[in-house]
Symmetry: C2
Subunit: 201 residues, 2 copies
Amino acid sequence: MTQRKSRSDRRIDLIEAARRAIIRHGIDRVQLSHVAEEAGLTSGAVLYHYPDLSELLVEAQHAGMERFYEQRMRQLAALTDPAEKLVMTIRSGLPTGPLDPDVRLLNELGGAAGRSRVYGVLLTSLYDRQVSMYQSILDTGAALGVFTLSSDSLTISRNLVALEDAYGYRITARHPVIGPQEAAELILSYARTATGHGLAH
Amino acid sequence: MTQRKSRSDRRIDLIEAARRAIIRHGIDRVQLSHVAEEAGLTSGAVLYHYPDLSELLVEAQHAGMERFYEQRMRQLAALTDPAEKLVMTIRSGLPTGPLDPDVRLLNELGGAAGRSRVYGVLLTSLYDRQVSMYQSILDTGAALGVFTLSSDSLTISRNLVALEDAYGYRITARHPVIGPQEAAELILSYARTATGHGLAH
DNA sequence: TGAGTATTTGAATTCCCCTTCAAATTGATG
DNA sequence: CATCAATTTGAAGGGGAATTCAAATACTCA
């Protein structure tokens, strides 16, 4: 029998397993047995901890999102120069390649968010937080006189996050020309005209 | 019994029925009986024409895509002024609201494109065609001296399509603030700085 | 009109997955 | 070491959807 674990440990395991299962099979096609397999357990054991699979899936999406966001914030905290921060943030919002698990997970949400309120709210709140993240960088840069913004910081920030999102989809869909490097360059092109800063990288 | 139809007519019907079924139930949740119901037939009849449901679904997605693209091209053909064309194109790339069936259909593909090569190729090719569409508008405008492009037309076009895509997701996910009008304004803000044109609307 | 073929139906079958639950196992606690 | 509760297994059942297929029906063409 698989090693027993405490309630909370097992729940964390299961959330991780669900995350992997969603990426592998899709948010709408993933089954109990997939999650169980990823966790190295049987379906019954999964059900013991999460009697409702859909609840586990929501938690997995939520956790994946937090992870993505926290990671970006952490990378950001190491820098002080607004221009460097901006470049770093743009890069950290893009997948490392077509298989990047964090972005694949987020992309799974896109379609479901149109059908499910829960997923819609989840995705919307992530978007808004990311917008705030950019906005504070832009505002700081403008206050320091480093950036000369072409329009208000909210508009620019919304567009920057939107570009990240969209190129995330292109990259995971394996666009033959647009990879992480190219996408970063495209977004930077916008960021340059929007901030009036060269944004070397 | 339902009226009989020729092989090719029925296949066209079924593709349309599948398109509606996908929008109603989601690409990963749609089932044979949904398609049959939309077509006014029984499951057996659907299977007679498409022994493999997934093949029908791919065809339906493809048809939906063509429809979306053709519609945009048609609206475009009615205009001559590059600035008007640009504004019109931006608007026609956005959903009319959270329930817009064409965009919902496309969004359903996003996640699947990361898992399935077929869907990845479909989505990628649509993206590229939309980029070309913008590029020809921008190039024409630049040649006529109406636009002064801030970077090469390919970069700007890619970003414009990316912004459309991303705001399409936000709108279908029912972002409380960003609706069709707001999204258009956000994209126009970029288009203005990219073209050096006021782009009144 | 009648024969022949293509299409559609509807019921039977099969398959797959979720759910339940009694029994087995594990680990903690005294 | 013995007891007990928590966790996990595995098999049984229930339900829903895909698949199969013989029969019925609708159209075509001679």
